[in-house]
């Protein structure tokens, strides 16, 4: 489960993502079920861009705003984020 290159496990990333997404959507973090599509909580482009901005700030990883639609749940996003962080930095 763990992602040794960054010291962040997918569990930690899941918690981080739930926390951020709850903030954008004005919900409590415990309301965000990692397996439920984010669209169901009313995700929109402002929230998707916010997420990209925060990922960039905290992980130094630049993602396209479409990422929140391509990986539509917290679970899928956490897995994708863990993989992206594990890859050696390109260019």
């Amino acid at each position: 489960m763990s992602v040794p290159t960054t010291g962040r496990t997918t569990d930690e990333l899941t918690a981080w993502l739930s926390d951020r997404i709850a903030l954008y959507l004005k919900r409590r973090p415990q309301e965000i079920d990692p397996s439920v599509p984010l669209a169901e909580y009313g995700l929109d482009s402002v929230a998707a861009l916010s997420l990209c901005g925060d990922i960039e700030e905290d992980f130094d990883l630049i993602l396209e705003p479409t990422v929140a639609w391509d990986y539509p749940t917290v679970q899928a996003l956490a897995t994708h984020l863990a993989q992206s962080l594990a890859e050696p930095a390109a260019g």
């Binding site: 903030l23 599509p37 169901e40 009313g42 995700l43 482009s45 916010s50 700030e57």
Partner: protein, 594 residues
Amino acid sequence: MTSFRTFTELVLDRAAELGTEDAFIFLPDDANGSVPEHLSYAILDQEARRIASWLQANGAEGGQVLLLYPSGTDFIKAFTGCLYAGSVAVPAPLPTEQGQHFTRVSGILRDAEVRAVLTDSASAPEISAWLVSEGFTDVKCLATDTADHGDASAYRVPDLTPEHLAFLQYTSGSTSDPKGVMVSHRNLLANEAAIQNAAGTDGQTRFGGWLPFYHDMGLIGHILHPLYIGGSAVLLSPTSFLRRPHRWLKSIGDYGVTIGGGPNFAYDLCVRRVTDEQLAELDLSTWVSAANGAEPIRRETIEAFTRRFAPAGFKPESFFPCYGMAETTLLVSGTPKDRRPAVRTVDAAALEQGTLTDPVAEGTSRELVSSGVIHDFTVKIVDPDTRRERPEGSVGEIWVKGDSVASGYWKRPLTNVEIFDAHITDGDGGEDTGGWLRTGDLGALEDGELYVTGRLKELIIFSGRNLYPQDVERAVQATDKALGAGAGAVFTVETDRERLVVVQEVRISAVDGDLRSLATAIQSRIGQQLNVPAGNVILVRPGTIRKTTSGKIQRTLMRKLFLQGELTPLYEVLEPAVRGIVADAAGPALAATV
């Protein structure tokens, strides 16, 4: 203060006077360590002459010119080029940008009868292909960021009058029926003067903003007003701001910004997303006017922002709540300088009945933030049905008259008589000379303050953007074949903010998967393509959506039925805040029997 007859004369004069001084500083996304781009008055002038000369040589003088650009100095050069050429600029969102589509721009292209399209070299191939696919083979497309067009020395200053159009502002009308507000040079100069009177700007004023350039507040406030006063502006793109809101606030201290703003949601975003570490680096002490307009203004946001950013030097009297719209060029009212926004607490029940009264002990109250005072317009509050003027402290439709009010929408004579030339009646069969703009907004005047309380039309406003319910309904129905065309109603309900609610009929026999997946697909489509949070979807049986005898969707009635808990869902997903305001269907009936 100005003796200029047209905005073109004014910009030519400013350019000659201010030369190498910065007119604009554009901050690109700093992901790649890119450096700020400075555009001086002299360079702006030179580039505008080249573009104007190309427009004049290509038969676009006096005609409409569509501007399709990402945020950046290329748009500013092209817009100024249109002013110089005596062309009518038509700014529109770049369809290739994330979340934007060709559909709306195609509607604008057809309506505006454009003679040329200006864009940048990155977008030109796709734009040219789109023009061909739309059958506009005679409309020329120019990428203005290349070096090989236009001869600045061949440029001729056009012979313009104040009545010539400066630009068409397409922020009204649905996607299938876009309406372009005709803004003349007279309108534009009058509104720039009104903004100056309201905000007290001068040549030392520096703007700071991130609004889209095709948005009225972004264009007239953050680009044209700096030119009007001979000041400057520090700008970034909307995407850059939404990704990292603190960049906007950081630029205020870095560049000594004195004025700038956006819709209420922008301040809310800053409160929620700027971290303590980022806050520690900010200096907002130069910011004397933080404009808040283009969507409902919330006391909670104003207070939270003021509290959060006080340590960075933000002053409570800097907030500048204002009101305006594309139809009045931009600003109608604004909060006087050096004064805190006025907040009026009223009884909610009395407000629903149309009057502002002090709250009563047992009743619920509502807090209204004043949109400020009116200087350069006459504003009346009018009963939208009887067309009689309403007394002080009463709610009615806001009607506006003044030099900034546009003459109407492009090619819409019938609509224009109704919207731009309304008459107030005296109740005895007489009426005044007319010439009033019907804003479609509801509000009240009290002690000289304008309070905007709601909307007469079904228009939905999200993040300062105007959305038409029929556009959202069409997008919903395009999601799946099981969703009936013309069998849905979209409206907003008010909790701590406005929230979108989608009620849609579904034919169960035509559903492939489960209803939850169908609802999620709708939410995903609305959130991604229309950039609106769709937290509330109610799927209902055919026959649930109420229509008038002529087939018009009764959205106000559907909203009422929804709030009273009288809709029977096949499936529903509701945000907790919205669930909290929906009555238990049994509630009122039980209460009635007690």
